[in-house]
Amino acid sequence: MSPIVTELPKIHYLNAAYGLKSWLLTTDHKRIAILYLITVTLYFFLGGFFALLVRLELMTPASDLLRPETYNRMFTMHGIVMIFFFLIPAIPAIIGNFVIPMMLGARDLAFPRLNLLSWYLFMAGGLFTLYVVVIGGVDTGWTFYVPYSSVYSNSYVVATGLGVFITGFSSILTGLNFVVTTHTMRAPGLTWGRLPLFMWSLYATSLVQILGTPVLAIAVALVGIERIWRVGIFDPSLGGDPILYQHLFWFYSHPAVYIMVLPAFGVVSELVQTFSRKRIFGYKFVAGASIGIAVYGFLVWGHHMFTTRQSVYAGLIFSFLSYFIAVPSGIKVFNWTATLYKGSVSYQTPMLYTFGFIGLFTIGGLTGLFLAAMGLDLHVHDTYFVVAHFHYIMVGGTVMAYLGAIHYYWPKMTGRLYPDAWGRFAALLVFVGFNLTFFPQFLAGYLGMPRRYAAYPEEFHLLNVMSTAGASVLAVGYLVPLIYLLWSLRHAPLAGPNPWGARGLEWQTPSPPPTFNFEKTPIVTDETYEYSLEEEEVV
């Protein structure tokens, strides 16, 4: 293991400059990552607050805590905040920003100022959304379906749409920055075949962000145009077609589910290797699967529209294509599992989250296949079954991987460790709380409980009480890390450059790293993840 460290490096990115201005005008990718970390965390707890109200309302069958109109606003704000302001930026903008240049052996991203602009756009979009929260909210669901959003809703659709529109540009610019960085900033010897798998998955994510997000921007802008000027685009009474909106929206939003989960794949690929001290099984397949998902993910969006008037023939094709999207994800799950085989597995906090991810993502992905079957989808569409499906992927998958990544890179970010026992305890709470919250929703949905209603029949009472109880456990599971991580900033032991004995250039820098990461540009001479080599040295 690494030697005991007694002091932090004298100068590092956190103390290289002082004052608010040095943060707000920074172009250091690591400081921008910290800006994102703080703001995205705030949005996470804001989104969590809305979820809390939703769950409290659903504790009883009647609509008693909130009026139905208020309830509609709560789940809408929950979805919008969590998707656009937490899940999409979380891993790329925080973890990606922090480690990508270091993984590549570079001093910064290709466009440091553009990176800062991304954060400001994110903040501008976020402030619009906060403004909407304050003046009365929006109630269309995160999907902004027409004609409700463009004609009937009396909530603040245009302002929210603008917020999403602006944030979209933040996402596009971050993606662009990562793509150019991957192409142009790799250290000598770091060939594509040696790229860390986290890089492959973020490269794939970035492609989706660049190619997909503009279509979301167009769709939302068209809703605004129709709402304000009554131009007939989606409204049939003006000669439009409401289904066209769903095509445009899901052309982005199905791939967007991969914007949320591909970075998590990357995290898991890194963590599985570090904590089983083995090179990934089938590097090329895992890397290729990321690119495959990025491209193929654009061909299946119609599976969200089986119950609309989309033609049955289109539905058949989308259904057929959807079955195959499970293949690359399946490859990854099998390869992670194969990597564990005969590995020297250790059960530290990041690894517990990794295990959580693999199991829960698998359930989420497999129930996706249920939904992709047209006949079954008629039964469970817009029920809690769908809600459970995507929470297994987004919360059980992405949030787990995000927490794993935060715990994994925390020593690099701050120079300090955290109490691992507390970490493992919180990971366990999150796992138990998560399943108690969302598994009952599969059952309720299968039995026919629709989503997005404040009231429900008596027969679903027990399942909903379980779900709300689970959500409380989950909330504690999220608060505990917040406390001990903040505590660790001052009181925890120092970490040293490489507390996990991990491979990868980012672990060759001091913790915390200096502003420009490396004193000398590293030269890469060996393959990625030569864990077996290291093992031999130890023995």
Binding site: I243, L244, H247, L299, R309, S311, V312, A314, I317, F318
Partner: protein, 100 residues
Amino acid sequence: MTVHITPRRTYYLVFAVLMILTATTTGVAFIDMGPFNVVVALFIASIKAVLVVLFFMHVLHVTNLTKVFVAAGIVWLAILIALTLNDYLTRGWDPISRPF
């Protein structure tokens, strides 16, 4: 990497062509060609887009890698249109989906 410098004349020329095409679109709008109204308008618009991309956005003189990314944008637009038309063009086929 060598930077290609396009002579100013080229820009003026392309601009003139764009203006002529705009005038053409306007002019054609007064002639009723039935279903071809849209086809012709889109055709002219596409030519204009290609000119802008090639000259004003300098794609004519960039590296092959950048060209691949430009092509990807076009392919993705094609996916959007093709799979959406896959719905619209087959809607009439099925007796069940007709009554709406």
